[in-house]
Assembly symmetry: C2
Homo-oligomer: 132 residues x 2
DNA sequence: TTAAAATTTGTTATAATATAACACTATGTA
DNA sequence: TACATAGTGTTATATTATAACAAATTTTAA
């Protein structure tokens, strides 16, 4: 049963919910939504979330403690993520920009650090909110 | 009393603590450290932190829920922040790189969003940890 | 095939992070 | 002065996340 798509039962339930959502979901919002499916306690949600993040199926929006499905071929398993976040309507969009990604992946801190991963969050007002 | 440096009493106490720390400090670590100075409850700490972030004196490391003093002329009041984070020793360093900053400040999302602010967190293993 | 290893699940309790709400004091401005 | 704005102190509570343990499922490989 688990082999077909490499996600376990709880992971699949939670991924499906995040994947069909148009906005980032918070852990406890997820918890309430999946209680009818038998997922009743926070650790069940957090474990699934951890695994999904680890495998790049979802990303955590750190500034919002919320989770979105990856829209970008799993982002090399979450090594290079970038988001645009509207400060008015809270909309979050994953940015897929090869030049940006290459630029940042190639960036190395002068002090001798070699980066393995980055997360970038842009904030502004989205097109839709600008009109209102 | 407040005029001399534009920080209030609690803001100054908390800024001083963060500023002299060699590592990011968490809100409740700060709370315990300043109880002897009369700051006894979380709201007092969070209010000071909020203000200090707002004025660019400190930054929040979102992936760690921790705070560091700005080492970079207040980063245009926190409009453009970048950090390198060691995944081994948890060291955090603020990156000051004009080219990077300009590149990102000039980046605009295709979908019509104009960015006002960004936060970038790089993860890797620092020089010191690599040797060990 | 079958026993050991690794992963996932279920569950209770608790830790860690953050804010609401209210009464009050201090400071800046006119 | 007197008004507005910002900061303080306090209690309670909301939100986010993990520890710890027992059981079941799946994978691996002898
Ligand atoms: Zn992605
Ligand atoms: Zn918007
Ligand atoms: Zn700075
Ligand atoms: Zn290190």
């Amino acid at each position: 049963m688990y082999k077909e798509n490499n996600l376990s039962k709880n992971q699949q339930i939670i991924f499906d919910l995040i994947n069909k959502s148009s906005e980032p979901l918070k852990a406890y919002t997820i918890l309430f939504s999946v209680q009818k499916k038998g997922i009743k306690a926070p650790p069940q949600v957090y474990r699934a979330l951890d695994k999904l993040v680890e495998t790049g199926k979802i990303h955590k929006i750190e500034s919002k403690n919320a989770f979105v499905a990856c829209r970008n071929s799993n982002c090399e398993i979450s090594k290079a993520t970038a988001f645009s976040i509207c400060e008015s309507c809270e909309m979050v969009d994953e940015i897929s920009d090869t030049k940006l990604s290459k630029y940042l992946s190639g960036f190395n801190h002068k002090k001798g650090m070699k980066f393995k991963r980055f997360n970038l969050e842009f904030f502004g007002i989205c097109k839709k909110c600008k009109k209102d």
